[in-house]
Every structure is written in structure tokens, then in C-alpha cells.
């Protein structure tokens, strides 16, 4: 293959991977700016997906959009009594990708289409279902019990994304996609959480089988733990935390009569944190992933990768935000196969309740053989997001 063909193939692969990632998460910077946990506005205590009554009827319409004097906005009325509530997210993007060499791509893309239903079975018990586009879904039975003004506990069972890291909404950030929290990586299991202000502790036991497989065919269960502290210091909001995930992946299979041990131990660990002062919000996360095959020669075949993300958001006026992201990744720390940096600049407008418009420019710089094909890739993205 020529170098050009190589570049085209790599770019296409990158694009395909990007496209099949669907965002469905909340905006941690909103939570940090307000100094409140995600569960203030979301049905799922880990954030993301459907908004609860507060998110939908209070935060969304009163603190998010540009306020035009004299404007009259009506929040859609989507509840059936106080038992059933509906919600949705739809993100449509236009993407213009321009690699350094070779053909680019110009396309519309339906990034997300999620329909939510939440049923309040009785006080504290909620059934939550999220049907996403491209066959992805979440189904959760959630029991929540407030203990005092500052303490509460919850138990969650079903199929959902493990609670790890900052939980940024953008699926194709390297700290999500690379380490295995793409939009389709829903897992099945249970999670318990305890909020004892300022701490939130979440622990889950899951099959750890991402994607299509429904049953876990290895003995090792995935274990995930996340601790977050969120506090205030005068006008300053501070957040700090760490997360850890361990799983045994793959199977010991009998391929054509021969037993092949395809199992490996997967281990992810990271730190995250942020600070917000009025208009300015800064968030950062860094993660290390270790993959260690089960088979004999353990020491040589361990591989480590590193991903990090930093963002600075400036709220110019209510409803208009400038965003600046910086990502860095090293796909293989041992072989020194290279590193990549990506910068994104853009803005986000909420012209009225239930609508978000976003424009973004991204650029990749790559070093080393593994990232040469993406070096110099520029992307222009425009997106409309309707939600309720």
C-alpha cells in the first residue's frame, strides 16, 4: 500500500470509530459551576441521559438559555400524572474532516437520538429506560433514599455505563473512547452509591462485557469504584476524585481443537478534578490503562496507555459559552510508538430552552509512527441538539 492509501485507510477508520460513538452524557461543567451533584438534574445519579423534574422545569429553562427580554418560553409538558415522565435527546451534526493528505469527509450525522421513559413505581423506586439510536439502550431499576439534607444512598441494577471518571458528554474524547467508555459500552450489573456531602462514593459490580454480548462467559467480574469530593470555598467550587476499573476480558476458547487462552486482565485508573469561579470552569482528567494477557509470558506483554483531557469554559453571558479543550494520549507507553495532541476550540449557544447549537474546530498533532496518519487532521463540526 502506498502512504496515501495508508493515510486514507487510517483516517476512514478514525472517522468510522468517531461516528459510531454516540454521546449521551451530562455536562460535568454545569454541575461543577453550580457546585451540585449530577443527580440534582438527572434521573440517573451518575448523571447523563434523562433530566428529572428539577432539570427539566427549573434548571433547563431558567439557568441555561440566553434570556431575551420579553421572551416567552414554554417547557413541553411531558408527564403523565406523577408516575410517568418522558424525555429525549437528539443531536444532529454536520462534520467536515480535512486530513493533511487524501480525501476528506463532509457529512451530516445523527450523533444521538435517545428516548427516555422514567416510571415512579413508588417513592424512591424508579424504572428508567433509554432507547438510543443504532440499537444502544440502557435499562435501570433505581432505588434512592435520602437520609438527611446532606446524605443519601442509592442502588442501581440493570444495564448502564459504568460510572467512571468525569463522565464528559462527548463520546469521542480520548479519555472516553480510547479507554473503553464509548457510547455502546453499556454493561450489566449493580451499582451502589452513597452521598455524604461533600463526598460521593460509587461502587459497581458488572459483567464487564461491552457491546453485544449479553452473558459474561468468564469468571472475573468487572469491579468499578469512583470517589468524588465536591465543595465550595467562598465563590470557588472545587471538585476532585479518582476512579478505578478492573476486569477480566476475553475467553479461553477452543479454536479448531486447540485451547487458546485469549483472556487478559484489564485495569484502568485515573484522577479527575476541576475548579469553577463564576464565569470560568476548568476540568481535567488523566487515565492509565493496563492490559495484561493471561497467557505465559506476562512480563513482556503488558501494555500501558495514557489519556488526558483538559478543558476551560468561559460563560460569556448566560446561554453563550466558549470552550477550549486540550487532549493528550500515548497509545503505548512502552514501545514509544508516539503521542497525539488534539485541541478543540468552539462555542455553545442555548438560544432558548430545549435547544443547543454548537460549533467546534479541532486539530490533531501526532508524533511517532502510530499517529502519523492523523497528524494534521482538521475538523469543523456544527451541531444542533434538541432535548427535553
Amino acid at each position: 500500500m502506498t502512504r496515501l492509501a495508508h493515510a486514507v485507510a487510517a483516517t476512514l477508520a478514525f472517522i468510522v470509530v468517531s461516528l459510531f460513538a454516540l454521546p449521551a452524557w451530562s455536562l460535568p461543567r454545569f454541575a461543577l459551576r453550580e457546585g451540585v451533584p449530577c443527580s440534582t438534574c438527572h434521573v440517573n445519579p451518575s448523571g447523563g441521559g434523562m433530566r428529572n423534574a428539577y432539570g427539566r422545569y427549573v434548571y433547563g429553562p431558567t439557568r441555561l438559555p440566553l434570556g431575551f427580554p420579553g421572551s416567552r418560553e414554554r417547557a413541553p409538558q411531558l408527564d403523565l400524572g406523577d408516575t410517568l415522565a418522558f424525555g429525549a435527546d437528539a443531536r444532529t451534526a454536520y462534520i467536515d474532516q480535512r486530513p493533511k493528505t487524501g480525501e476528506g469527509l463532509r457529512t451530516f450525522f445523527q450523533m444521538q437520538a435517545d428516548l427516555y421513559v422514567a416510571a415512579r413505581v413508588f417513592d424512591g423506586l424508579t424504572l428508567y429506560y433509554d432507547q438510543g439510536a443504532y440499537g444502544s439502550f440502557e435499562a435501570i431499576a433505581l432505588y434512592q433514599k435520602p437520609l438527611t439534607d446532606w446524605a443519601s444512598v442509592y442502588v442501581k441494577a440493570g444495564r448502564f455505563m459504568p460510572t467512571y471518571g468525569l463522565r464528559l458528554e462527548n463520546h469521542n474524547l480520548w479519555i472516553r473512547q480510547d479507554i473503553g467508555y464509548g457510547p455502546r459500552d453499556k454493561e450489566q450489573g449493580v451499582e451502589v452509591g452513597a452521598q455524604i456531602a461533600p463526598f460521593l462514593v460509587q461502587v459497581g459490580l458488572l459483567n464487564g462485557v461491552p457491546g453485544e454480548r449479553q452473558l459474561d462467559d468468564n469468571k472475573g467480574k468487572a469491579f468499578v469504584a469512583r470517589v468524588e469530593a465536591l465543595g465550595r470555598l467562598g465563590p470557588l467550587r472545587l471538585m476532585f476524585g479518582g476512579s478505578y476499573y478492573r476486569n477480566q476480558t476475553g475467553v479461553k476458547s477452543d479454536a479448531s481443537g486447540k485451547t487458546v487462552d485469549g483472556r487478559s486482565n484489564l485495569w484502568r485508573a485515573g484522577l479527575f478534578g476541576g475548579a469553577s469561579l463564576g464565569r470560568f470552569t476548568y476540568l481535567a482528567e488523566a487515565d492509565l490503562v493496563r492490559l495484561e494477557p493471561f497467557s505465559a509470558n506476562k512480563t513482556d506483554s503488558k501494555s500501558y496507555s495514557f489519556q488526558s483531557h483538559q478543558e476551560l469554559d468561559v460563560l460569556v453571558v448566560r446561554g453563550l459559552e466558549l470552550t477550549f479543550n486540550f487532549e493528550y494520549r500515548e497509545p503505548d507507553l512502552d514501545t514509544k510508538s508516539g503521542s497525539m495532541r488534539r485541541v478543540a476550540l468552539g462555542f455553545e449557544v442555548y438560544p432558548m430552552p430545549n435547544l443547543e447549537l454548537k460549533a467546534l474546530y479541532r486539530h490533531v498533532w501526532g508524533k511517532g509512527p502510530a499517529s502519523r496518519s492523523l497528524d494534521g487532521l482538521s475538523e469543523y463540526i456544527a451541531m444542533a441538539h434538541v432535548f427535553f
Binding site: G35, Y57, T62, R63, D82, D149
Partner: protein
């Protein structure tokens, strides 16, 4: 401290009440109360939009009541309202509730609902809120006359501001709000609201006012006070001669001697009780209104915003 202040204010008020004509203002036509269908709308809308903070039973204990650490949402069951056109101790009129719900309470989590709910919906919710306290049924709206808010005078001159500043000390605003209006007066740390929660006097330099930022809004606050909080009513208290103002309060030692000397001299220039009593009823009312406007003008002049305020301000905060 609060008790002492209330006694002082009450003494001044009752002295002044004798001198003031009964302040009867034409009552705005009471809005026709919503029909049964709208009243049930009020309950539904309240439970959807308001109950997460104010509680399903109106006791101010909803699940998001404490999330931002701002003042707690109002407990409607006591029938105690801060933002009223009616005199201290009285219930607000419906129009007061409608105004507060519409414009929200800046500096707290209470959102402005004006652009999200129609006037009829706000009216229906206001009616529903009244049902949380038996006081509303017991004290009909016709028994709560709103005070008159006279038209705003032209912007204060430098002399007006200086006189306003002197009144700020003679009426002892500084004891709570501080010498420079920063909310750090000698009495500030000890204040509590009717629910026995600590409360801070407003920092008047921020230019953020809970009940609106126009001259008329501030005039109303100073005139009627903020029920449920230590902020007293001054409508009647300002109609007082120099005899009643001679005692500058127990904190006066903590005031800079230079300012104290100025204030003492200023009090001597004021008319006596007898002179005020000699005024005709309308003139005496005008005399009180003038003092309230002078205070209002001075309070407004305290607001200033620095660059750091701009940087650290979150524009999505209400």
C-alpha cells in the same frame, strides 16, 4: 439585638403613626380569582415547578431546597413574606406574590418565572401558594392596603446623597449594613430570621437586590421592611423629630469619631417633633416620603462593581 431594634423601631413608628394621616391608598381592583380549573392548574404547576424547592406541602423542604447553599426556599405555611407593598406584619397582596414569582429573587436560587409561565398561570400558582397558610383565608385582601409609592424624584444631588448618608447613620442602617454598606455592621453577625436561621444583612455594594433594583423597589423595601427577617420597616419610623433621633444606639461607640461628630451635628439641624406635628397631613406624608427617597438614593449610590466582581460573577446565577 434584633429585639432592641424592633422595640426602637416600634416606638418611633407609633410616635410617628400619631402624626401621620391614615395612609389609605386606592386599592387596585382585586384580580378576579381563577376559576376551579385554573386553581387545579395552580396545584399541578406548583408541584412541577416549585415543589422541588418549596416542598409539596409548602414547608420549604423540597429535595433541592439546599443544593446551592443559598438562603433556604420560603416556608409558605407561616404566611410570612418578605416582599410586600403592604405594611410590616401584614400579608402581601396577590400582586406582590405575582411580582416576586415573575421576577424571581436575584442572588438566590429562586428563578424568575416571567418568561416561562403565562400571567394566568402565575396568578393560579400564587393563589395555590396562599392555601398553604390559614392566614390568607382569615385576613381578606381588602384588609391589607398597599402603601403608596410616590413617583421617583430626579437623581439625587451631591447634597442629597450626603443627607441620605446621614440618615443612613441616624436611622441606624449602618448597625446591620455596615458603615460602607458591605453588610458587615456591628450587629450583622448576630442576626437570625423568624425560622431561627442565621441571616446576613444585604451587602448594598453588590447592586444585587432580592426585590428588584429600581428606585421604587428599594423604596418599597425600606418603607415596608422584609417580614421574617430583621430588616425593619421605616415608613413610619422616618417621620420623627430630632428628639427621637438623639440616641444613636448602643453601637455608636464603634463608629468612627469623625463620622459620629458629623451625625450628631446633623441631627441638631433636623426639625423638632413639634415642627413636624404642625405640618398639614399631606405635607407630613410628603416629609416622610422625602426622607425615604433620600435613603433610597443613598442606598442605590452604594452599588459599585469591580473587575473582579465581573470575572467571578456567574451570569447564569439568578
Amino acid at each position: 439585638m434584633r429585639i432592641e431594634w424592633m422595640v426602637a423601631a416600634a416606638t418611633l413608628s407609633s410616635a410617628a403613626a400619631a402624626m401621620l394621616p391614615a395612609c389609605s391608598t386606592p386599592q387596585p381592583a382585586s384580580p378576579s380569582s381563577p376559576s376551579g380549573a385554573e386553581a387545579s392548574d395552580g396545584k399541578r404547576l406548583y408541584e412541577q415547578r416549585c415543589a422541588t424547592c418549596h416542598g409539596i406541602h409548602g414547608d420549604g423542604r423540597g429535595p433541592t431546597a439546599h443544593v446551592y447553599g443559598s438562603p433556604a426556599p420560603r416556608d409558605f405555611t407561616r404566611g410570612l413574606y418578605e416582599f410586600r407593598t403592604t405594611d410590616a406584619g401584614k400579608l402581601p397582596v396577590r400582586a406582590d406574590l405575582v411580582r416576586t414569582i415573575g421576577q424571581g429573587i436575584p442572588g438566590t436560587t429562586m428563578p424568575a418565572w416571567r418568561s416561562l409561565l403565562s400571567p394566568r398561570e402565575i396568578e393560579a400558582i400564587a393563589q395555590y401558594i396562599e392555601s398553604f397558610s390559614p392566614r390568607f383565608a382569615a385576613e381578606p385582601e381588602s384588609a391589607r392596603a398597599p402603601i403608596a409609592i410616590p413617583p421617583e424624584p430626579p437623581p439625587p444631588s451631591a447634597t442629597d446623597l450626603e443627607v441620605g448618608r446621614m440618615f443612613y447613620f441616624t436611622f441606624r442602617c449602618w448597625e446591620c449594613h455596615g458603615v460602607y454598606g458591605e453588610g458587615d455592621g456591628p450587629a450583622a453577625a448576630t442576626l437570625a430570621d423568624e425560622w431561627k436561621r442565621p441571616i446576613r444583612p444585604a451587602d448594598l455594594t453588590r447592586g444585587v437586590y432580592k426585590s428588584g433594583a429600581t428606585g421604587a423597589d428599594l423604596y418599597r423595601t425600606i418603607a415596608t421592611g422584609l417580614d421574617g427577617t430583621p430588616m425593619p420597616t421605616f415608613r413610619l419610623a422616618v417621620v420623627v423629630g430630632k428628639e427621637g433621633l438623639a440616641d444613636l444606639g448602643k453601637h455608636i461607640d464603634k463608629l468612627d469619631p469623625a463620622i459620629r461628630a458629623k451625625v450628631t451635628a446633623f441631627v441638631q439641624t433636623l426639625p423638632t417633633d413639634e415642627q413636624i406635628f404642625a405640618l398639614s397631613d399631606p405635607d407630613r406624608a410628603k416629609f416622610g416620603e422625602r426622607r425615604l427617597w433620600l435613603l433610597t438614593g443613598y442606598v442605590k449610590s452604594l452599588a459599585h462593581r469591580g473587575v473582579f466582581d465581573w470575572l467571578s460573577h456567574d451570569p447564569s446565577a439568578p
